[in-house]
């Protein structure tokens, strides 16, 4: 293919009518917000009640480069700045936790009571997708992503409950309120599946939704603050502007 064709600023809509299709590169600016949770897949029975759940302010901003090989099929790669976060308030019972500290200390216990957790992590992510464009309104993509964490927050409080020192047989210690901060414990690399759809609403503007499902627990195996894995499961709702 000739470079002239490669960088053609044709929007592709015209090309779908042509019989001789020439592959084309497309550029898009992506902007939106992430809604979802850093959560277990299936709740453990130690979580007794979810009293509240709210999204944090989680913008997603990126640039996508796609190669449209045929009328309908292509591939895309993007670079995005993704904030992923949420807040939750729940009630737990006999919730096992092990906290290890930098001075070599260790505390292990089972907590029963209220928990409030805030998560807000910033990733640089690289989604790679196969792109299917059945008509000039719809565009679907499916693929995976890799992401690097560069700023992390995972903190909260436990309150109005008690912890049993060492486990269920240990002595009960009442807790009115205590804080925790596991931000520094988080894994810096995430990988997952992603896919979504966009619908064209203007000449160059589309609205889109994309589900990103992390496949790697956000905490390393040796972290025992929680005894079940958490995954980043977020839906990006936003717009794409073709440039």
């Amino acid at each position: 293919m000739a470079p002239a064709t490669l960088f053609a600023q044709d929007n592709g809509n015209g090309q779908t009518k042509n019989k001789t299709y020439k592959p084309v590169l497309e550029h898009r600016i992506l902007a939106g917000f992430n809604f979802g949770a850093t959560a277990p897949v299936g709740l453990p029975n130690t979580i007794r009640k979810i009293e509240g759940f709210w999204p944090e302010f989680c913008p997603s901003l990126g640039y996508e480069l796609s190669y449209r090989a045929t009328h309908k099929w292509g591939a895309a790669i993007a670079v995005k700045l993704d904030y992923k976060g949420m807040g939750t308030k729940d009630v737990v019972q006999y919730f096992p936790t092990i906290i290890t500290t930098s001075d070599g200390g260790r505390f292990q216990g089972d907590f029963s009571g209220e928990n409030k957790t805030t998560v807000r992590n910033a990733y640089v992510s690289f989604p790679v997708s196969a792109v299917f464009t059945p008509n000039n309104k719809w565009r679907f993509n499916l693929g995976g992503y890799v992401a690097w964490l560069f700023s992390s927050n995972f903190y909260g409080t436990v309150s109005n409950g008690y912890i049993r020192n060492g486990g269920p047989k240990g002595e009960k210690v009442n807790i009115t309120e205590a804080t925790f901060d596991f931000g520094k414990e988080m894994r810096t690399f995430d990988v997952g599946l992603q896919g979504g759809a966009s619908y064209r609403v203007g000449k160059n503007l589309s609205i889109n939704g994309n589900l990103n499902w992390g496949l790697r627990p956000v905490f390393p195996d040796e972290f025992k603050g929680m005894d079940f894995p958490l995954y980043n499961i977020y839906l990006t709702l936003g717009v794409a502007y073709k440039i």
Partner: protein
Amino acid sequence: MNIRKLCYLATLMVMIQSCIRDAPINPEADIETFKIDKQYLTGDIFIDQANAKIILSLTPEAFNSGLAPVITVSAGAKVVPASGDSIKFDGTGPKQYVVTSASGVNQKAYTIVVAQIGVFKWDFESWQLNDNDKYQYPVEIDSSRAVTNMMWSSGNPGIALSGVKKDPMEYPLRATTDAFHGKYAAELVTREGTVLSNFIGIKLFAGSLFLGVFDSENAMTEPLKATKFGQPYLGKPSRFTGYYKYKPGEKYQDKAGNIMAGMKDSCSLYAVLYRGTERLDATNIHTSDRILATASIPNGGPREQWTKFDVPFVEKQSYTGNEKMMMAIVASSSKDGDAYKGAIGSRLVVDSLQIIPQ
């Protein structure tokens, strides 16, 4: 259409979140209350949950006749012998209560320790190790090594909650072979706080040793009320005697951890006799209107060598010595350790403590 599809996805995610499973079966196996009619007691019953011991201060009649305690346990758990069963305390009855959790998985065996009012004289020769947290505590044992009395406690069970390394030497109170008499003495060393204790503003743990009990349940919420001072006492005390050594640490620090130039740490070692069976704690051991008499070493300055002290009890109000009373002895390697002030490394060793009656 597209929006609707996104709504489906969002709903799906909410559904994943809202799948609350059946509650876990109760894994707890505590004796929560252990009740005996007050007329049979010389002091309040204490359940030492950390070391699975029920400490009873019985009158001689109750000790001889046996009793039928009323017991409550964790929801759904079972206890053997059952609540209401008569038990003997003279060595012929069961020495343990075994609680099995509702889940059936956990069993906790509580040893009954009957504390009779005896001679108030201690050499700190026998120590036990807490199973889970590996701190030491002094006990009295008989020839079969069964624990016959557990009069002393310390801040160790509270410090165990702060994530210290599970090693007896990491705790501020421990046994030492640097003894005045016998093989062991009690060593109290002020240590720095842990990463976890720093979260709640505690940068220093003073070594403590006291006649009384440590109430773990409220150690985090009201730490000064967790150290409950005193054991039942009869008669009128004359003098508080014993031997000690003290070396203050180099740098005195305030609660925030700032080094205070020119300040020297000092130890405290005192006895307080008070009326009633409800224990005083670190908030009122010096101020309660129930205090009858006190005895304290005159100054807590350095003592390189073993030093004998012999201080008379000073009567604060008149009393007969026949009422229900408690005697507290409190030792600390940093006098202001209750306010988290002192010098890291301050070391107090005490041995051969005694309350001499009139």
